[in-house]
Amino acid sequence: MSVLLEIRGLEVGYGAIPVLQGIDFDVEEGKTTVLLGLNGAGKTTTVGAISGLLKPWGGTISFEGERIDGLEPPALVDRGVTLVPEGRRVFPALSVAQNLRLGSWTKRKRGAELKDAEEKVYDYFPILLERRTQMAGTLSGGQQQMLAVGRGLMSLPKLILIDEASLGLSPALAKTVFNIVDRINADGTTVIIVEQNVGVLKHADNALVMEKGEIVYRGSGEELRSGDELRRTYLGGGDEEAAPAVARPTPAPAQAAAQASAPATSDDEPRSRRRSRARRAGKPGTG
């Protein structure tokens, strides 16, 4: 399998505070890669940098063999890199159909392809078809999440990054969304899915675990899922599919700014962790 996205020595931060201090990973074409980690681990920061919301401080991001770090979202979406942001961020006073229409903004001239994409989205999420004239702000949280994913798909992505799709959803609904992620992947789109819900592992080819701005584990989804030991080490246990890896006291409100939604004190989890097991990612010099 070829590598679609290659990240080397990626450094990103906010203001003067570094968050990612040189991470490396590859995403294989046609696969689903899950990015796990506790609150504040740097998952949103990672996908934010890939999708052009945050400017990398250093390192490289390559997509289909070409450097894309530093590009703005319009260029990235046009190339096929689309982020479904944390907290859904649907356009509340626009209808479902209008939200989907805007998803294809950079590709709005491609009539026939968009028609197919729209049909596919309604096929994945029949509820959206039913609600297509309803204002997005009046949809339920789960429906808004489906709309956010659907809107992302309308940009005809080659790589779709989904940040915490299961946040605030019931276990059953989270499962539904994950099943559709499987279908999206089976239909040919490479997926990076950010999660705290370990139930996602069943749906992942590859898994990365982040901790304090570093990648502390990488392997197959299956390996991480079946190894109770591994799971406890990195994710603090938790029942598969049912419970999030870490209980969140309050789900981030849908409209809260993604940057503002990361709790600052989540790093000091009291759970004993056997750090020695961590296969820490090598950190080559950054360019």
Partner: protein, 303 residues
Amino acid sequence: MLGVTLVTPIILGLVQGAGFGLVAIGLVLIYKSTRVFNFAAGEFATLGAFASYHFSHGFNILFISIPKLGLWAGAVAGIAVGAAFGLLTERFVVRPLSNRPKVTVLVATAAIATTAIALEIVLGATKSFRSGALVSGHPFVLQGVSLLWQELIVIFVLVLAGVGLAIFFGYTDLGLATLATSQEPTASRLMGIRLNRISMLTWGLAGALGGLAGVLLPPVTGSFFAAYGTTDLLIAAFTAAVLGGMTSVPGAFLGGILVGLVQNLALSNVDQNHFPGAPAVAVLVVLIGVLVVRPTGILGREA
């Protein structure tokens, strides 16, 4: 008797209200996209009026000398100058301040208004100017009151602007993107929408609408002068926008007409010797009345 005190103010009210409506729509566009009240909106109109006057009559200011171009070319110049001023405001004031608190941007728009007024005083001292009607004469007479072509044009243009913007926001991708940007800027960026371009579009459009009001209204209402838009249009337009709910284009349209009607009916039916300032009070009463009954404005939703 009754016919005259109603028909004349109604006609004048519609016409003036249409002018207020144009400026109010500009206020709403900017409020929707930046959540800021644009104090410079009135001066977009005054600059439009000055530009249209000077370009139609020809001028010789500083090193620039322009021959007499006629009323229509002057009108186009007025709209263009309004749009250009809106764009300059966006590029050099609003955009650099985009990460600052809203109140900073608000004060900056007031500073732009005063700068524009200073510029107008340079361009026209403190004189009043009378600009000519684009089309002179009366097409018809209604209940003994003759209607001017220019008055019909103003109303027609407002209707055109309202319908045009309704189509723009409701049925075009660019209009949809403009609405999206005001609702969810981050998601809009992620869709690949360039926020700067949308912002330029909004300010340019608001400037052009102001310029249009400055071109069309003075021939009907009499004259214009430095700060004309701020003294004669801004408060009324602001009231119109608030009446319409501050975020609704059709609401601003209706609000403008309502303010124009109330002002002119009060002006011609209340004895100004006994009750000076009656028009302003009447507008205030209507504003409070509407907001008590419908706190979200006449239409009460974003459109």
